[in-house]
């Protein structure tokens, strides 16, 4: 582990130097395995947060209440520690940067991590494919990558970014706080008009179910909607 930085009060980004990393696709994940002195092991999957920087990869870990692995990674792991990593894994929830179709990204909470990997890959490759991110968070303080997304969105040709607040919104926000609604996504759809967007939805299961159903109701085709549901803990 070569770096650790707090993104929010509960989310940390870890940098890991992996021998002979041959790169990965935006949206892929890794399995992280921890081993206790008595041999007990725990493995969890974490989305890669950014394109690899040579042999250094990044994951962003949301600390879960009672999370056996997430709490270790955010609170105890230190620079210099060795972790076991397997990957890259997952070839489905990935953005093909040669595909010119506009992209609609819908994230609930830390579901933004694999989507940020896509946004960063687009930025790094200087690709102009229209991207729109809708990120549902509880409060402004829960905006993972908030500053970077604000900066990217302000650039010419940058992605457009909308935050939706479920509990507390900033004073400038006109949308009342609340869960994802149909018209939240209608607006997102209109921003990628002109061609059928590829949609990526990531977040807790209930959020993904609602978002996918809203997109279907808005006329998106099921075969253009890819989902990643946080299944386990």
């Amino acid at each position: 582990m070569t770096g650790s930085r707090a993104e929010t009060a509960t989310a940390h980004t870890l940098s890991l130097r992996v021998d002979e990393w041959s790169g990965h696709l935006p949206g892929q994940h890794v399995d992280v395995r921890l081993t206790a002195p008595d041999g007990y092991q725990a493995v969890r999957s974490y989305s890669l947060a950014a394109p690899a920087d040579d042999c250094v990869i990044e994951i962003t870990v949301q600390r879960l209440p009672g999370g056996e692995v997430s709490a270790f990674l955010t609170d105890i792991a230190m620079i210099g520690d060795e972790l076991e990593v397997r990957g890259p894994l997952g070839n489905w929830f990935v953005w093909d940067q040669d595909d010119p179709s506009p992209v609609l990204l819908v994230a609930g909470g830390s579901g933004v991590v694999p989507l940020m990997s896509m946004i960063r890959a687009r930025d790094e490759a200087d690709i102009q494919t229209p991207f729109h991110l809708i990120h549902s968070v509880r409060t402004p303080q829960d905006r993972i990558y908030g500053d970077e997304l604000t900066r990217l969105a302000a650039q010419a040709g940058g992605p457009s970014v909308t935050w939706l607040y479920t509990r507390t919104a900033p004073p400038t926000e006109t949308r009342p706080p609340g869960r994802l609604r149909q018209n939240d996504l209608d607006d997102g759809s209109s921003r990628t008009s002109g061609a059928t967007p590829t949609c990526f939805i990531c977040g807790p299961t209930g959020f993904v179910e609602e978002a996918a159903n809203h997109l279907l109701a808005a006329g998106h085709h099921a075969d253009r909607i890819r989902t990643e549901r946080f299944g386990g803990r």
Binding site: D81, A222, T227, G231
Partner: protein, 199 residues
């Protein structure tokens, strides 16, 4: 080689000798699938056993649910590492569905509404090892868990238990299904941790 992680002691959650390696127990029923949940109306649902392009047998919902059904209690194991013990289902044994079918095929490609597929050896669906299930926990199978009906093959990782099942295609060649062509293991035995290609 096992590498001990500095500072990690682990919570050692309750285990059970019915828990395959690398799995943890949960009481939740997480949902994992690749796209939106298909909404299939029962009056539109049909299920077929096919040989190539030809349907050997086909059932409507009413016909299917009139078949002799079994109550099933099994442990299930997801490749994302959660397991549930003693889950209860009701459905029709594949043995019964294939009872009159005479085939030389050794493999099956399960096809789902929504386009999902998964491949299995035929023998893994026979001898009381697999069902088409339409009830879970005493209720109709919810759409997000594969309703109206799903394949249930509890001795393999759960991605083999295709949700929203539409047909079982008897095939001579073992061509990979959806996840199998995306890097997952062809067979998927939880006790041998066959998660990804090469395991």
């Amino acid at each position: 080689m096992v590498h001990v992680t500095r500072g990690f002691t682990g919570r050692h959650p309750a285990t059970d000798d019915r828990l395959p390696p690398g799995q943890y127990l949960t009481d939740d029923f997480p949902v994992l699938s690749a796209g939106p949940t298909p909404a299939i109306r029962r009056d539109e649902w049909t299920f077929s056993v096919r040989d190539g392009d030809q349907a050997l047998r086909s059932w409507t919902w009413d016909e299917f649910t009139a078949l002799p059904a079994e109550d099933i209690t099994v442990d299930i194991h997801c490749v994302t590492r959660w397991s549930r013990l003693d889950t209860t289902w009701r459905g029709v044994a594949i043995d019964d569905l294939l009872a009159d079918v005479d085939t030389a095929a050794e493999y099956v490609l399960a096809r789902s509404y929504g386009g999902y597929t998964t491949n299995l050896p035929l023998e893994d669906l026979l001898d009381g090892k697999a069902w088409i299930a339409y009830e879970h926990d005493g209720d109709d199978l919810p759409a997000e868990h594969g309703g109206p009906a799903r394949l249930l093959v509890p001795h393999l990782y759960l991605w083999k238990s295709a949700k929203w099942i539409k047909s079982l295609d008897l095939v001579d060649d073992d061509d990979p299904g959806f996840w199998e062509s995306l890097g997952y293991h062809d067979y998927g035995d939880p006790w041998r941790e066959q998660r990804y290609q090469g395991d």
